[in-house]
Symmetry: C2
Subunit: 337 residues, 2 copies
DNA sequence: CTTGGCACTCAAGAACGTGGAGTGCCAAGC
DNA sequence: GCTTGGCACTCCACGTTCTTGAGTGCCAAG
């Protein structure tokens, strides 16, 4: 159905369209790529490609533009991920190497990705649910207040202040802290609720009110923060790409946490690269955009996702290379720290 | 030079232009506002206002548009800050009331402000330098690591991990912690370096290496985080306002931390409302925009700033009302928590 | 199957006209 | 001296028309 030459034509169309942003005609194709055939032949091929839905004309007597389906075929079968240049790799290393805490890693990553791809970058914080407790701390601050700090093995630190019942002794607090750490150290956050349920029983009755308060806040924190944090950068790059009328919709969508979550969350393969093109996206405002995303994490394990969003008319090989490289490098950083 | 009627005309021009987004002519003015004079008279007044630079025509035979100077006069002398409606006040209270930690307060505030004004909102985190230490905590995590947590009276919590020298005992850590808290509690962050300098002298020699490490990290944290954090929301509102060609520039400017800092930082009166119009802004990309900002803080003391950015063609009275109200309310929240 | 030729289509841009909102100026009126 | 209606003038916005040229589909010959 689609012989090699037709595929070559499709590839050429995608490449030309991406670089020129103008519908590409048969003559231009014959000139710029040496396909070894005449424009007329290419026209025949194009007619067939159009019939099958891989390309379309904005109007009669205009050149062809790839459809979502065309981009999909291009990504799946006609392109190879483009490795980064040495300079780019070096830039990543120096830029991310200087980070000194998780916040810093994440913000640097998102900016780097935006700059590298010249598109909108989206990075999800390492998820709590896929992390384990490294340490729990209870710090009295003032007579009736306590600070609860939870540190995870992904370097994330959550804190909440707690109003204490009156008349709680230092020892009770120390005792509870010891107990919590004994039970929770290394515990997957998913499992925390189960483990924690039995803690009050092991305490003397007079310490139970404190424990109840602290535990309810602790669980609340884990659940509420389950709503995971996402940062974006490079929104200005959207203005460069001429999504014109839909630009505002896209910007609005990007400000909704929920949409962003779905954007990254519903990607197929959790570890590898995923590309979602145009109408494949989960939200109507993003039908004119594509998303290239990847999981990342310390070692093999995926703890969160990152990616970029841009017009469907996007340099897929380059973008995919950048996303993959950044994801890997962030993984190394997380593993090493 | 400018009698009352001319000022009334200017006010009417600003109001009409803001609401219609079209150059306003003498006839429209006479119709919509009852100035008690004929269009011809208004034309004379307009000629004079133009001569003095308060208004301008986009081209001959078009209506008039306020200049930056015109807006300035309007803001300074012709308008009064518009108090929020009861519904709006209630919305602020319920929306901000539910916040449970500083991060939450700040993100809710910025979103609220964006929604209320339908513009881009900018909120600066309460600055460290203008805060005081409330508590310092040292938490051992793992055999060779320590977590340093600094809690300020503005609710901000900073944490850093520290690589420990080997063979440090629990007691040494507890000792250092006690000493730090004794010295630093209530201490202005500005004064921390001075206070901290003498701490090592009071320790037995074998605890000094630990102290040195911890103190250097502590100081580093205070200095580095001096670079203050800013969050924005509502960028999509920029697309609605038709800054058209400059939209991209504005978006780019908003992504630069430095520009944002200057935007809020260089405003005059630290406590009250400040308005900066068009070319009064510190960055060329923002010459088509105006900024309405205010300090906020617990009690009287200003610990940071917040504000909104929009086209110069902006509803100043309404925006100023919203910014002032939100700033006050955030102040109350900070004071109460 | 490929290719050159050819008639056809249609968006984009230039050229042109025109309607109307808005102005400045002037002379008459209060 | 300020205000006002009248009036000529300007010039943008908008619609119409024409032209141009890139690009197509089809066909008959190679």
């Amino acid at each position: 159905m689609l012989d090699d030459r037709k595929l070559a034509v499709l590839r050429a169309i995608v490449e030309d369209y991406v670089s020129t942003n103008e519908p590409v005609g048969s003559k231009a194709l014959a000139d710029r790529h040496n396909l070894g055939v005449s424009p007329a032949t290419i026209r025949n091929d194009m007619a067939m490609l159009e019939e099958q839905g891989y390309i379309a004309q904005p109007h009669t007597s205009a050149g062809r533009v790839p459809t979502d389906k065309g981009y999909r075929l291009f990504v799946d079968r006609l392109s190879t991920i483009k490795p980064l240049s040495v300079a780019e790799r070096r830039a990543i290393e120096t830029f991310l190497g200087g980070a000194y805490d998780l916040d810093d890693v994440v913000t640097r990553t998102v900016r780097l990705l935006a700059q590298l791809t010249r598109q909108v970058a989206v990075v999800q914080y390492p998820s709590l649910t896929r992390s384990a407790v490294r340490h729990v701390e209870l710090v009295p601050i003032g007579p009736e207040r306590l600070l609860l700090v939870i540190i995870t093995n992904t370097g994330r630190v959550e804190q909440r202040t707690i109003e204490m019942p009156e008349g709680v002794s230092e020892e009770s607090i120390a005792h509870l802290r010891a107990l919590l750490n004994a039970h929770l150290d290394g515990c997957w956050l998913n499992d925390v609720p189960g483990v924690v349920a039995e803690v009050p029983d092991r305490l003397p009755p007079d310490e139970r009110p404190l424990a109840a308060t602290v535990l309810s806040v602790l669980l609340e924190t884990l659940i509420e923060k389950h709503e995971e944090k996402i940062v974006i950068a490079g929104a200005a790059n959207l203005a460069r790409a001429d999504l014109s009328q839909s630009l505002r919709e896209v910007l609005e969508a990007l400000e909704e946490q929920v949409v962003l979550m779905r954007l990254l969350g519903e990607m197929g393969d959790p570890a590898g690269l995923t590309v979602r093109i145009g109408t494949e996206n989960p939200h109507e405002s993003l039908f004119t955009t594509s998303v290239v995303a990847s999981g990342y994490g310390a070692g093999d394990q995926t703890v969160a996702r990152l990616g970029v969003l841009g017009p469907t008319r996007m340099d897929y090989p380059g973008t995919m290379g950048a996303v993959r490289a950044v994801a890997r490098y962030v993984g190394q950083i997380l593993a090493g720290s």
